[in-house]
Amino acid sequence: MLQILTPSGALLTEEPPLSLDLTRRLYRAMVQARVYDHKGSALQRQGRLATYAPFEGQEAAQVGSAAALEPTDWMAGTYRDAAAMWMQGYPMELLLAGRTGDERGGSPPVGVPVLPPSITVGGHMVHAVGLAWGSRLRGENRIAITYFGDGATSEGDFHEAMNFAAVFEVGCVFLCQNNGWAISLPVERQTRSESIAEKAIAYGMPGVLVDGNDVFAVYQATAAAVERARAGEGPTLIEAVTYRIGPHTTADDPGRYRSTDEAEEWKRRDPLERVRIYLSERDEWSPEWQEELEEAAADEVDRAVTAAEALVAFDAADIFSGMYADLPEHLLAQQSEAAGE
């Protein structure tokens, strides 16, 4: 398992893979993610968001991997991948709008190469393969990354996506956040393979196992996979080993299936803390800076929440208007009927 920065902040390589500057930027992004995540659960409790899927503990896996992309690279992630998505340009307010139950949350601005979060488990990986392949056929220099969980590896579509990507040497990076659980099923009962990374062998594809809580390791592994993809050498599977500290969603009660010890144990491998120590030891972190970051992060989330909540609710006609480029007659008639005309 690739590890570069230990939980106690020690560097295992001679040279760090990232400049201090970039390290600070990624740390900032992880703080942003942590603040967003806590706020998400809080807003759900207040009834302002529908069910929310927390990702505390997975910040490094998302931030480290997304940081290795070019701005035009495609991304297809899940309901739990907010940080990766906004790093690739998906506006935070749209992610929140989606969670308030507004379709406009699925519509990033033109130029943002990120699909709306996948709600079905497993179905979006084939799309990422098609996006990268399609761009290659168009002569564009774009690769794709797709995020998914340990549970998703059991779906048939995972298999078909991996196989297509390998057979056609598609520039697609498969980034599995193995967070230990798929709702109540632990990964040991999801699969008997030694690791998820090892599943790559079945497709003749490189598989890389990384400490998913080590932003350096995740960045380095992803950068290598992205380079390989961009060079036309085909796909890579990366397994980022991490842990879902919170419940599956705000509707879930982890007490039914796991002990709190487990989460406590994983909190000692926190992805933020090790970077904090690393920066701090190099005089690049201070309590004041931390406060500054947290405040800025909270402001950003507040701004996004305000923007999301400012969206005027759809009227009845709007639920029709996204259905086709041109509404056929029967839908126009239903639209009038719905609008009470």
Partner: protein, 325 residues
């Protein structure tokens, strides 16, 4: 007797089915340790053990296909797919194999299994969690399709489905899981598949619905009664086999029909009802059969659900339209 919700009645029925049939197993995602995302199988893992209450990997086609194999080996699997919207990855197994193995093998291998599909909207869920696609199962020869709307029927229909020698698609209205309570007998009883229930008698118009939409239909009938219009309300309970007789008998008396369903209109099961009614009762029809349904759109997210779901108002308006003819 105890007073139970739909979820409670289903839980009791599942327990009794596992009790009575040693060969019954419950299989699905998160059905054991957590008791299912809707807690419908709460407590069953503890009572029956992990051999018979099986938490599976996230793989719907595999769940259904493996359950079919079990059924052919002599078990009586009860499958839970977490939401109807996640049954599509298993559509091939259901349509190509579950529904066909009896005919393919001329009764040599059979599929005595139940596939439970929580369905329908109205709980502000994410996309794919509010599907009402019963029609794409009702069109498949070899399946039965059942939809309870009350705690009493939920138990009776589920036990009948478990007893049935053929595969049953069992649609559970999510919105009603905990919305209503009623007395449910403790003992084993079955509600025959293929018998509709006339929930309310009336002679002015026939309202036909099933599952979650029974609530709105019932409410519409009450409002109509307040205005002096007596609606007969039929809860189909089972789409395949369909109790056409009960429907026709009512239509012959009332001459006016409104079908209510949550599914999109085009090709919804309401079309089949209209086709059968006009074929068998044309002379009795005083007005066109109207359909009050979900629109031909994707089921909207939380903020817009109310624009989609048929409301008592829409049902009343349709009845008034048929009365004007």
């Amino acid at each position: 007797m105890s007073v139970l919700t739909v979820a409670g009645a289903l839980n009791q029925a599942l327990g009794q089915a596992l009790d009575k049939y040693q060969e019954a197993v419950l299989i699905g995602e998160d059905v054991g340790q957590t008791g299912g995302v809707f807690r419908v199988s709460d407590g069953l893992l503890g009572r029956f053990g992990a051999e018979r209450v099986i938490d599976t990997p996230v793989a719907e086609s595999g769940i259904v296909g493996v359950a079919l194999g079990m059924a052919m080996a002599g078990l009586r699997p009860i499958v839970e797919i977490q939401f109807m919207g996640f049954s599509y990855p298993a559509y091939d197994q259901i349509v190509s194999h579950v529904s066909r193995i009896r005919n393919r093998s001329r009764h040599r291998f059979t599929a005595p299994m139940v596939i439970r599909l929580p369905y329908g909207g109205g709980i502000g869920a994410a996309e794919h969690h509010s599907e009402s696609m019963e029609a794409v199962y009702a069109h498949v020869p070899g399946l039965k399709v059942v939809v309870p709307s009350t705690p009493y029927d939920a138990k009776g229909l589920l036990l009948a489905a478990v007893e049935d020698p053929d595969p049953v698609i069992f649609c559970e209205p999510i919105r009603l899981y905990r919305a209503i309570k009623e007395e449910v007998p403790e003992e084993w009883y079955t509600t025959p598949l293929g018998s509709a229930r006339v929930e309310r008698e009336g002679s002015d118009v026939t309202l036909i619905s099933w599952g979650a939409m029974m609530k709105e239909t019932r409410e519409a009938a009450e409002r109509l009664a307040a205005g002096g219009v007596e609606a007969e309300v039929i809860d189909l309970r089972s789409l395949v086999p369909l109790d056409s007789q009960t429907v026709f008998e009512s239509v012959v008396t009332t001459g006016r029909v409104v079908v209510v369903h949550e599914a999109p209109r085009t090709g919804g099961f309401g079309a089949e009802l209209a086709a059968q009614i006009q074929e068998n009762c044309l002379d009795s029809l005083l007005a066109p059969i109207l359909r009050v349904t979900g629109w031909d759109t994707i089921f909207p997210l939380k903020r817009s659900e109310h624009h989609y779901l048929p409301s008592p108002e829409r049902i009343v308006a349709a009845v008034e339209a048929t009365l004007e003819v």
